[in-house]
Amino acid sequence: MDTRYSRQELFSGIGKEGQKRLQEKHVLVLGAGALGSASAETLVRAGVGTLTIIDRDFVEWSNLHRQQLYTEADAEHNHPKAIAAKERLQSINKDTTVKAYVLDAKADNLKKLVQDADVVIDGSDNFDIRFIINDLSQKYRVPWIFGAFAGSFGMSYTFLPEKTPCLQCILSTIPSSSMSCETSGIIAPAVQMTSAHQTTEALKILTNQEESLRGTLLLFDVWNTQQQSIRTDKIKKTDCPSCGKERTYPYLVHEQDTKLEVLCGRNTVQIRPSEKKEYDFNTLASELKQHGNVRKNSYILICTLSDCRLAIFQDGRVLIHGTKEIDKAKHLYHRFIAKEKE
């Protein structure tokens, strides 16, 4: 007799019927950092049918205190988070179909992924992408569950298209970087609390119990034991450009194909070539060895220079760690990586 989910089925909110529904559903976890790790693990253990997880980054030592899917070996070998996450998740539950993509999320590549999902879990770390998720959620009528934190403080909200206000109703503009950077550090319990609220709401959506959703913007501080559960009934805007009557989905229409982007609060610049490139890592490695230490796996090549580090992904993206200056990053990119073409 299969007892795997027996304790979860005993819980009256799930039951055998709920368990069956979970096994038919598809979750998209956007980002495989701290929140994405925690939520993906919970939902895979709970037995969702399919879980897709995407991330653009690789594992580093500074992730390990809070990003629960990763090991020292992942940091040592700079495994892409999506790949390391998939491996761990699949070893936790072979019955869940786990799909993973090393992907820099944008409106165009998220479109299909969002459409295929029953719910989207926010594991991202910036509001630029959250406003894109918000528009996609409205357009394709897929609920998404926002979560974010800093320090010991976290917040979460469940966005239901056509029912609740959307992100644009709550925050009329993308918060500026000074307020949204991870400057105040983070403790793992704040991650787990945020993820616990997100995944609880996800379990309700996945078992078709929308009437049980919380319906409030929840804020909490795990260190100071504060909580606010804020009603949002009055703020849905009929003229909202993302969920109103004359909607235009501004974050899908105006998306710029940014080539250079400073990653918030991380002293890192990302360069995304306008055309997809594929590098021959062996050739590149032998060239870069003249300038610094080079390590690589099949997804990523990392070259440590005197004051910077270049992380080159197979899809052509390059992360330049150790600078916030776009000009310096550009210079390094052209000097070491894209020289023959430019």
Binding site: A34, A148, F149, A150, I170, S178, S180, T216, L217, I230
Partner: protein
């Protein structure tokens, strides 16, 4: 009396998690401006506010006995 609750960076900036003040009659926006000026807080333009656990816009007038929560958006994930 109005009770103001501070979250996230605001707690660190002001050095406490709440403040009681005699400011009934101000709007939420006016309260934010007052805090910026009197307590040297960085811009509260993008800070969300809730009055008695109801999401509030900047024009809401504060009444005696209200509890105002000021919530700066955080982005970590």
């Amino acid at each position: 009396m109005i009770k103001i609750l501070f979250f996230a960076r605001l707690q660190e900036e002001i050095g406490k998690d709440s403040l009681n003040i005699e400011k009934a009659g101000l709007t939420v926006d006016q309260l934010k401006q007052w805090l910026e000026k009197e307590h040297g807080l960085q811009s509260l333009d993008q800070t969300m506010a809730a009055v008695n656990e109801d999401y509030a816009d900047g024009s809401e007038v504060l009444k005696e006995g209200d509890t105002v929560a000021l919530i700066p958006p955080v982005s970590g994930g």
